[in-house]
């Protein structure tokens, strides 16, 4: 069993967490940009 446990790469988790974090930052930035565009367009007629 120790063999199975030791086979898991240790820094893989760290790398994945960083990747997931930057993916979320990207999604938030994209969502924010689209939200600003939407509100800008909706306010055009006022």
């Amino acid at each position: 069993m120790n063999e199975i446990r030791n086979n898991q790469p240790n820094n893989e988790g760290e790398k994945n967490r960083a990747k997931i974090f930057w993916k979320h930052v990207g999604i938030i930035a994209l969502a924010l940009m689209l939200a600003v565009v939407t509100v800008f367009v909706l306010n055009l007629n006022r």
Binding site: M1, R5, I27, A35, V36, F40, R46
Partner: protein, 277 residues
């Protein structure tokens, strides 16, 4: 002009007038949250192309609407509404899985097998017993489905069978699946070192095209449960005795001792551990 004034100026331009700044900020926040969840869901389901299409359509139509004067700009909201509708239609199964996810299940007190100690020896014993049972059933052409959960199987699936809450042993697993017994046709649900239930009915897979025609209802159920819930399942074919492993709607056939050991090791050391944090 400093940065603060510049941002205020841009914000006023977005708002249309200085009185609308608060309302604009709230609207931007609401739309950001909405778009964030929509994009995160699509990215999580490998639909990067749909996200690109969404962004492209939004920007293009915003550009067009900016130059058309006599039109109600509220028409712009049709585009996100259409994309949300398309997402709900295309990903109804995934949305169901999201609603049944771990966080919701915790609230409904469906977590089973908690309070048990996950010491190394006990886990090693469980892995050995499960592999022994699977290989014995494979040798004797006894059909079986074993689902490895982290306490995230919905109550309605558990209630469709018989609750056991017993320790894992190869004898018990083989007895449950031995032909002509009341529970042999359903699935066995394992959570950690406990068998939670047996004889459970599982949702069948929706991806009929992806599953080879020679696989029957047992395989479709074994794959189907992994499509809707974040679990993995072992399926032993009654006709051929082949052991398969299903995970996230994908099936790996001809699982030997090494694959079974690796899969169970990953379940016990990684997934179960992280679900308990």
């Amino acid at each position: 002009m400093n940065l603060g004034e510049r941002i205020l100026e841009i914000w006023q331009a977005v708002s249309g007038s200085s009185e609308m700044i608060v309302a604009t900020s709230v609207s931007v926040f609401v739309f950001t949250v909405l778009y964030y969840y929509l994009i995160r869901f699509l990215v999580g389901n490998n639909s990067g192309s749909l996200v690109s299409l969404f962004v492209f359509t939004m920007l293009l139509s915003a550009g067009i609407l900016t130059f058309i004067v006599n039109i109600n700009s509220a028409i712009y909201l049709i585009i996100p509404a259409l994309f949300i509708l398309a997402t709900v239609i295309l990903y109804s199964v995934e949305i169901k899985r999201l609603l049944w996810s771990r966080r919701n299940i915790k609230l409904t007190d469906l977590k089973h097998g908690d309070g048990i100690s996950y010491d190394e020896e006990k886990i090693q014993n469980c892995i050995t017993e499960i592999i022994k049972a699977l290989q014995n059933m494979s040798k004797n052409d006894v059909g079986a489905i074993i689902v490895l959960s982290t306490g995230n199987v919905p109550g309605q699936i558990l209630d469709s069978g018989v609750r056991l809450d017993s320790d894992i042993s190869s004898e018990l697993i083989e007895s449950v699946f031995s032909p002509n017994t009341p529970l042999h046709d359903g699935a066995m649900i394992i959570n950690g070192t406990k068998i939670v239930a047996a004889g459970c009915f599982l949702p069948l897979s929706q991806n009929i095209d992806k599953i080879p025609k020679d696989l029957g209802t047992r395989h479709r159920a074994g794959i189907g449960v992994t499509e809707t819930i974040d679990v993995m399942s072992f399926i032993v074919s009654e006709e051929t005795g082949i052991i398969s492993v299903a995970r996230a709607g994908q099936i790996t056939r001809y699982a030997d001792t090494e694959i079974l050991k690796r899969t169970l090791g990953r379940y016990y050391w990684q997934e179960l551990e992280s679900s308990r944090k």
